[in-house]
Symmetry: C2
Subunit: 443 residues, 2 copies
């Protein structure tokens, strides 16, 4: 009988093994894809693309019995070669080839030069050819950093005793959403795609006190802007036993501090490649919604048109104000008007026109919405009724308040927006692997 | 100006702090929900439910100025008390209360006694009242273990240099699925919910060599069985530069070894509570599909009705066979017939009626499907055509082969099924937080 016993050590080497040890003069094997070939006549440089970086391989006429003309860009190969220190090569070494084995060949030549350092093409083309353009080192570095952000979020919350949950994305119609939902037929029942795990994560606070989820959410909004997509990743957390909604902002700040430290430690090559300066998050300023409007109105000589709403240009100016006044790329705007927040938001007992809620702006863009939630059954029912909502429509959600919930609150962070601002990209599609927007359903 | 600086130390204590240090005789504060109250006259035991466990609090008449009759089950409270060693109490101590502060009160009495050790109710009721029944310690322990499985999967693959990806769940209609897809209207385009991240994860092998994703998948199957749900969590990975599809099984075995070690280390209380015996995964037997059928046919005296299909009862018997013959709860069944596998599966060059693929059975239930994929453009186009498929329908997927892909393969694991078998549950709904099935769209 045959058995599988676990992972075997591979004969081929990782880049980090070679660069961290003294391998000069030794023969090693490596796998990768031919990123580019520079033929200089008697010698050719074959750049191997691997997940962990680029490797410069030197092909010298007569040193291998391989016919270089058989090698194509995007061929997957396994090479054997002697490690030679070379300061000008990536990672400080090159591989003087003694053998090449072709593992697979492309059928056609690439329609776009992905081996260019920076892809010089329109966003439209980049997205249409996404499966290929992502192979460009700068393009793929963006999503490594995005991976790091998610790891930071999860690892930090795990240390803070949060439990990770997985809630359904197909939900009964009419739960929270208005017109901006994707509708579907679910075995002859009316269903929709979840716009947020809001009800479920609150439910799970009753179970685990502190919970988080990183998962897709869906919004059928028709805007075609640089900061909206129709399917995005929401990083959500919700925590019980809070004394104040300030604790939620403290948790988010702690998470950002932890995450940026993790990026510095484990994603340094990607940060360097994309020239990312991590912002200082040791202190994030906090300002009331109404005060923020006034500050901006005074400083930038701008009339307040609607005291209960924040226009995108005002967000940008608030971001600018706190950058100029205290050097911060981030600012918490608190106490949003009750009218602008969902029914489950807790009103401020000091002034019920406002809520115990906040947005976090990053360089003038909202990347987080959060706040304290109502936890008392009668209060939430009354608030629903005052808005003309029918509590019976969401009785399974209201069940948690009926039978008791601790004071709690939480937030949702748009992963692609956070990445976009961190990388100073002008369009959210640049930091979405396969974006879904009004015109885009493929690839 | 006010600033948020990060997470502040809370004044209240965690259970692990109290049980790990010598706190006897000291006064501490704790928060939690009233799980149950046992009033014995002059003394009452108030059991506090917290994410980290239950705490026995002793309420003695006259020791606090609190009126016990105000306290209800499911009230959220903050207590002050003196730690007293007590072997019979959970975690070896009890809290002799000196003060109680009520943070919130339920509106009604629970419709079901969740403080019972084991919920004695039908699955139907359990699911209908899911937001509440999950508060039962045994119920919630299941999903802590599920969290641990996902952490194990991710952490192991991270160590193995996999990159985590996030791929879209709304996809163009007709990509892979047949009739078992949920259809939706996407801005007047025909879309469906992804049944698997298959095409995207293969695409990303061209970018990062090794990738994984843990995300929801959707199947509109109408079966109402104990092992099917319509939205589940798929743990997927895909790896490039493989020499053989055996490497994929080795990676999965390594992952299971790592994950069970993690559960032992970090989820011991939950394993103990649910009396889970972690299976031995140091060696997982492997058997060909056709051989497995013969072995079972001989040993259990069962006729082979269809040599190209595996019936559920046969799966159960294969599981039984390898348990009896080599004591393993797991078995890899390899070389499934080509007809039963999708077009992208790589046929066995030695016998093209079969594929270089496998299922992993756990106690007779398929929890994983995986295998090597075709990586050559002409081969995949030819195979599609031989099946009457039109390559143009999925040209963005085929793009990756056209421009070159390394040899690769991967797998998908059903998280809820794996959890179900690990916990010896009879129904997959027991290990799904909020299950979606043919009749169930709420809660």
């Amino acid at each position: 009988m045959e058995f599988i016993k676990g992972v075997k050590q591979k004969e081929t080497m990782e880049l980090s093994e070679v660069s961290s040890k003294d391998y000069a003069g030794k023969t090693i094997r490596m796998e990768g894809t031919v990123h580019t070939i520079r033929d200089m006549g008697e010698v050719a440089f074959v750049i191997l693309r691997r997940a962990d970086g680029l490797v410069q391989c030197v092909f010298e006429e007569g040193k291998t019995d391989f016919d270089l003309s058989l090698l194509k860009e995007e061929s997957a190969i396994r090479v054997t070669g002697v490690v030679s220190a070379e300061e000008r090569a990536p990672h400080g070494f090159e591989l003087r080839l003694t053998a090449i084995e072709v593992l697979s060949q492309p059928a056609e030549v690439l329609p776009i030069a992905i081996s260019k350092w920076k892809l010089k093409t329109s966003l439209e083309t980049k997205l249409a050819l996404r499966p290929i353009t992502l192979r460009n080192p700068m393009e793929r570095a963006k999503f490594r950093i995005q991976e790091g952000i998610v790891r930071g979020f999860r690892d930090f919350l795990h240390l803070q005793k949060f439990t990770e949950i997985r809630t359904p994305k197909i939900v009964a119609r009419g739960a929270e959403g208005g017109s901006n939902v994707f509708k579907l037929d679910y075995f002859n029942k009316k269903a929709e795609l979840g716009q947020s795990p809001q009800f479920y994560k609150q439910t799970m606070v009753g179970v685990y006190d502190r919970v988080f989820e990183v998962a897709p959410v869906f919004r059928a909004e028709k805007h075609n802007t640089t900061r909206h997509i129709n399917e995005y990743t929401s990083m959500d957390f919700e925590m019980g036993y809070i004394d104040s909604f300030v604790e939620i902002m403290e948790m988010e700040t702690g998470m950002l501090q932890y995450t940026f430290d993790l990026l510095l430690k484990e994603y340094a090559p990607e940060l360097k490649m994309l020239k990312v300066q991590l912002p200082d998050v040791s202190n994030i300023p906090m300002v009331r919604f109404d005060q923020a409007k006034e500050l901006v109105s005074e400083k930038y000589n701008r009339k307040i048109r609607n005291p209960y709403d924040l226009e995108p240009e005002e967000e940008v100016l608030i971001g600018r104000y706190f950058k100029e006044e205290c050097g911060s790329d981030f600012v918490f705007v608190t106490h949003y008007p009750s009218k602008k927040r969902p029914f489950y938001a807790m009103d401020d007992p000091a002034d019920e026109r406002f809520t115990l809620s906040f947005d976090l702006l990053f360089k003038g863009l909202e990347i987080t919405t959060g706040g304290q939630r109502i936890h008392d059954y009668d209060t939430i029912v009354k608030k629903m009724e005052s808005r003309g909502m029918n509590p019976e429509d969401i009785s399974t959600y209201l069940m948690i308040f009926r039978y008791g919930m601790p004071p709690h609150g939480g937030l949702g962070i748009g992963l692609e927006r956070l990445t976009m601002r961190l990388l100073d990209e002008a369009n959210i599609r640049e930091t979405t692997l396969f974006p879904r927007d009004v015109t885009r359903l493929e690839p």
